[in-house]
């Protein structure tokens, strides 16, 4: 039971990185839902490390917008409101549309576009497999594959713009969106085909050096995705407000004669 000895063979990364990935995985997997409070000591116990690396990982997650820190009550997982979804998708739209416009104006050859076309074809294969089966929506693994392809496509898309800072901001933005999308419902074949067509049309427009068209299609694509997510949010919100009545009003002193506020 070595105490202070670092363990370079077990974790090639630093303990801070390890803690960061650990917490991020717990958030991304849905094990830590929105509103959960994270205690530094318990996390440190779980990781078998001191509070310091955990603390730094938490700070980083706060800086990235995944956690919120209240002065002396610890860090809680952010809860994305409707407005947050709107803001995140606006960020995506502004940056991705700009990047694709720039990419279409400069020279972008098949070396960059072909890998993206391959990703689109993978998604099309996914759709065809879905159509051949009797199911209506994707299962969990297929859904994960679809999300990974979508992530890769848009990541390469932004890379075409050649702006590393933009890529960094967008990665954080997409990470936040993805964390919300745990409740994401599966797409049916028609939706997937629609997405693929748009993705392909964007690539064609870039190959044609038609910046305006590429920007227009991408903008519509992101807006559609946003609307989808908002509808999903509204549906989920309605259900949850019907199911559990007032979980936030536990501190009301059971004085029913007082009207609200």
């Amino acid at each position: 039971m070595r105490k202070n000895v670092p363990d370079p063979m077990h974790s090639s990364r630093s303990r801070r990185e390890e803690a960061y990935r650990h917490i991020l995985a717990k958030i991304a997997s849905g094990e830590l839902k929105a509103g959960s409070t994270l205690s530094e000591v318990s996390l440190a116990r779980n990781l078998g490390s001191s509070r310091t690396p955990v603390r730094e990982a938490l700070s980083q997650l706060v800086a990235e917008g995944l956690l919120e820190q209240t002065p002396n009550r610890g860090a809680v997982v952010v809860e994305l409101k409707r407005q947050d979804i709107v803001e995140l998708y606006e960020l995506r739209e502004a940056l991705e549309v700009y990047a694709i416009g720039k990419a279409a104006r400069i020279h972008v050859g098949p070396d960059e576009l072909d890998p993206m076309r391959r990703i689109v074809k993978q998604v099309l294969l996914l759709k065809e497999g879905l159509e051949r089966s009797d199911r209506n929506v994707l299962d969990f693994d297929e859904m994960r594959h679809l999300v990974a392809c979508d992530l890769g496509y848009h990541s390469l898309l932004v890379r075409l713009g050649g702006n590393a800072r933009m890529l960094k901001v967008l990665n954080e933005t997409r990470l936040l969106i993805r964390i919300f999308s745990i409740h994401r419902s599966g797409h049916d074949a028609a939706q997937i085909e629609n997405i693929c067509r748009q993705h392909m049309e964007i690539l064609d427009a870039v190959a044609d050096r038609d910046a305006e068209r590429a920007m227009h299609i991408l903008s519509a694509h992101i807006r559609a995705s946003r609307q989808e997510r908002l509808d999903e949010y509204d549906r989920w919100q309605r259900e949850s407000s019907l199911r559990s009545a007032f979980p936030a009003f536990l501190d009301v002193p059971s004085d029913l004669s007082r009207s609200a506020d």
Copy 2:
């Protein structure tokens, strides 16, 4: 000489915040030039605190892109290359143009536009004062005022879009640009008037709900600013390469027969 007793009357903020502001001020004032290495211990000594708050402040500055961390050599102030300036201004253009387009489409009344008009008028006063004097460019204090007005104008402009995340990203972007602009040269009256005219035209376009025009003018405005900064960078680069020959080649073992690389 109390040791562990916090000093609440001297620093209402936490020591971490204090350290953050301290380091940021040193960077912004130019006391710490690009490439300077920051030692945690010496900073902690200067602040009379432990390494922990300094370390957290440094982490935050790294996350914000002002410092770079190399594995075991500490944190150094970033050196903005030409490509960095291009990227930062592209970020500004993408986000600000998007925000002003949205602002022009939704209803934006005089309550929001009038404060911005007041800022533009302040800058016009600055220009008139410059024309009345015999000087050609602004002095240091006037320059600071101009920069503050410009910052305020663009900050309000982005606020019109109603996207807090966009505002946050842009604040960090502008901070990085501003840090580079220590070497900034003063503007003459014609340049200032040009800026004011563009600023005013943008406001008029927003008041007219003419999103296309507002976006177009703002885009041109930011591109002009970027070009100005790039010219300045090239000039500075040329001078500095003429003045000091090879400060980076000190570790070459004085073997003049070996060709470069």
